[in-house]
């Protein structure tokens, strides 16, 4: 500290008056760990594009399906028998730029919940998430598609929802049309499509507007064999382009094919970490 004799113990920590401590660099031992937690201190390592710390998330449901205002007014806030589950329990992750992480595990192990917390769709009970990049997430293929709109209109709408500008939209529509291979159906409303066609269009649209970080939930269950090959090519291309990703799937084999690290989850905790390819960059 300048202007003070060295070794002079600070009377009070600079927070909140002296501003935040440096985001990077060695820790000042005068302040405890909790002080740095507030600023997502990342220990002087390279910037993670996405990191989370001690994420805990539980769900509570009343077993009697009554959630009425009238009841709340008449009876008041009464303790009801609740069913609760700890979906994610104290999970920390760091995603380096260009890294692909896989989360695998049986149904109900909390992998999708964790992904939703990372995306900011769910608020964790405890812990913090830090995002340092633009991100896109695909929890379901073709979100925002409308049955009555044609593919062209749907693609435009989707692009808009993801913040693609007008100039890029035209070229994106062409790319999607070429990739999805739905031919003459392009100008028909979506209700005329088969399920497979819908999935193909959804995949094409979803990966056409990628942010720096992709959050992908069960993206492999798409289309026939030929289209699967196409999908894999697209994913590898995205990886080569330097996008990072967190993927969720129950098929560990698929994850190990593309991811650098694969975590196995069980009961809301990460039980095993497997490094497929160490990060070199």
């Amino acid at each position: 500290m300048e202007g003070k004799p060295s070794g002079f113990p600070p009377m009070d920590p600079p927070f909140p008056f002296g501003g935040a401590p440096p985001a990077r660099g060695p820790r000042d031992p005068r302040f405890g760990a909790s002080f740095y937690m507030r600023f997502h201190y990342n220990g002087g390592m390279t910037d993670a594009v996405l990191s989370c710390r001690n994420i805990t998330k539980s769900f509570h449901r009343t077993l009697i399906p009554v959630r009425h205002l009238q009841e709340r007014i008449i009876v008041g806030r009464r303790k009801k028998t609740q069913w609760s589950v700890n979906a994610v329990d104290d999970v920390s992750l760091r995603l380096a730029p260009g890294e692909w992480i896989g989360l695998s595990g049986p149904n109900g192990c909390g992998k999708t919940t964790l992904l939703r917390v990372l995306a900011g769709l769910l608020v964790p009970d405890l812990g913090s998430v830090e995002r340092n990049a633009t991100f896109s997430c695909f929890f379901e293929l073709g979100v925002g598609f409308h049955e009555e709109h044609t593919a062209a209109e749907n693609v435009r709408m989707h692009a808009m929802l993801w913040g693609v500008d007008f100039a890029a939209m035209r070229s994106m529509a062409d790319a999607v049309r070429a990739f999805a291979g739905i031919g003459d159906h392009w100008n028909l409303p979506l209700k005329c499509y088969s399920t497979g066609m819908r999935h193909r269009l959804g995949f094409a649209v979803s990966t056409a507007v990628p942010g720096d970080v992709l959050l992908l939930d069960e993206i492999f269950a798409v289309g026939d064999a030929a289209f699967q090959v196409q999908c894999w090519e697209r994913l590898f291309a995205l990886k080569r382009l330097g996008h990072s990703a967190v993927m969720v799937s129950h098929r560990t084999g698929d994850l190990e094919r593309i991811c650098d690290r694969v975590f196995s989850m069980n009961g809301g905790k990460i039980v095993q970490e497997k490094t497929i390819a160490p990060i070199t960059a």
Binding site: M37, R38, H40, F59, R67, H68, L69, Q70, R72, R116, A119, G120, L121, L122, V123, P124, D125, L126, G127, S128, V129, E130, R131, N132, A133, T134, F135, S136, C137, F139, E140, V143, G144, H146, E148, H149, E153, M157, M160, L161, W162, G163, D165, G211
Partner: protein, 286 residues
């Protein structure tokens, strides 16, 4: 326990958000009537039926007291329709666009703005019909019509503010839409749609009279005060006097308009704060 979650790095600029609201709003408007034979005319059916019945029943009683009663009534009804439809739509949009809410991390308040925009388009078409009626009756358009956009702004943010408060809790408490539909039935008669309404100008003078109005313990006194000062009455009064009675009732003063804007903005902001706070939990409340 507090969780230290940082505000989302928003992927959207203000311009992109405006474009989303504009485009989705228009597409909702067109989708609503696509495929039906009468199309848009269906949206007119409800206010028109209401108008005809009430006009038939009430005209003998009030047409002496209110000049241009048909226009007075029609304007009241379309403003009322706009308010109820917008507030109800604010709640139902969370179910209509459930996929958006559950799967896309975008600012939820955009849904509300989309609702506001769609319903404003519908209201504008109704207003055009009103203008046609004005021409047909030979009333003419006074200069005061320039204030109409401001009143439309008041109307919209009032409806959205109330709508946001309702929709913030409508997933947590499932009976809110039902309770609101009952409340609107009562509110319909506590709003000067069908009967005459007069406000002492300036408004502050009337507000000063409020204590003496409540002095009597009778229930109808309280109703009187409510009808006088509830925001919807004020909106209707302003809209009617600038479109129908600029000579008789005078133009709204600058202070009046400014004060109203502040009040409605306050309602809107309260709604927005509540909605923003609650909307983080929407995903797990479905």
């Amino acid at each position: 326990m507090r969780s230290y979650i940082r505000v989302l790095i928003s992927n959207y600029t203000v311009r992109q958000m405006a474009r989303i609201v504009w485009t989705v709003g228009w597409s909702d408007f067109f989708l609503k009537y696509r495929g039906s034979v009468l199309g848009y005319l269906w949206s007119l059916l409800a206010p028109l039926a209401k108008f005809l019945v009430i006009y038939y029943v009430f005209r003998p009683f009030v047409s002496d007291a209110i000049p241009y009663y048909s226009l007075y009534l029609f304007l009241g009804i379309i403003v009322w329709e706009h308010f109820t439809v917008t507030t109800t739509h604010c709640m139902s949009v969370l179910h209509e666009k459930a996929a958006f809410v559950q799967k896309l991390p975008f600012p939820r308040i955009l849904l509300i703005f989309i609702v506001g925009w769609t319903n404003l388009i519908i209201f504008l078409t109704h207003l055009i019909i009103f203008a046609v009626f004005v021409v047909v009756t030979g009333k003419g358009f006074p200069v005061q019509w320039v204030f109409v956009p401001l009143i439309l702004f008041h109307m919209t943010i009032l409806a959205l503010g109330v709508g946001m408060i309702l929709s913030a809790y409508c997933l947590k408490y499932r009976d809110i839409p039902h309770l609101w539909s009952i409340a609107t039935q009562v509110l319909f008669w506590l709003t000067p749609i069908t009967y005459a309404y007069r406000l002492e100008v300036p408004l502050l003078a009337t507000i000063r009279r409020m204590p003496e109005m409540i002095r009597g313990p009778a229930l109808h006194n309280l109703f009187d005060v409510f009808v006088q000062f509830q925001p919807l009455s004020l909106v209707m009064y302003d809209l009617r006097r600038i479109t129908l009675y600029p000579k008789e009732l005078g133009t709204p003063s600058l202070e009046h308009l400014l004060g109203m804007t502040v009040v409605f903005l306050a309602i809107f902001c309260i709604g927005a704060v509540i909605f923003k706070k609650r909307s983080r939990h929407f995903v797990q409340e479905y």
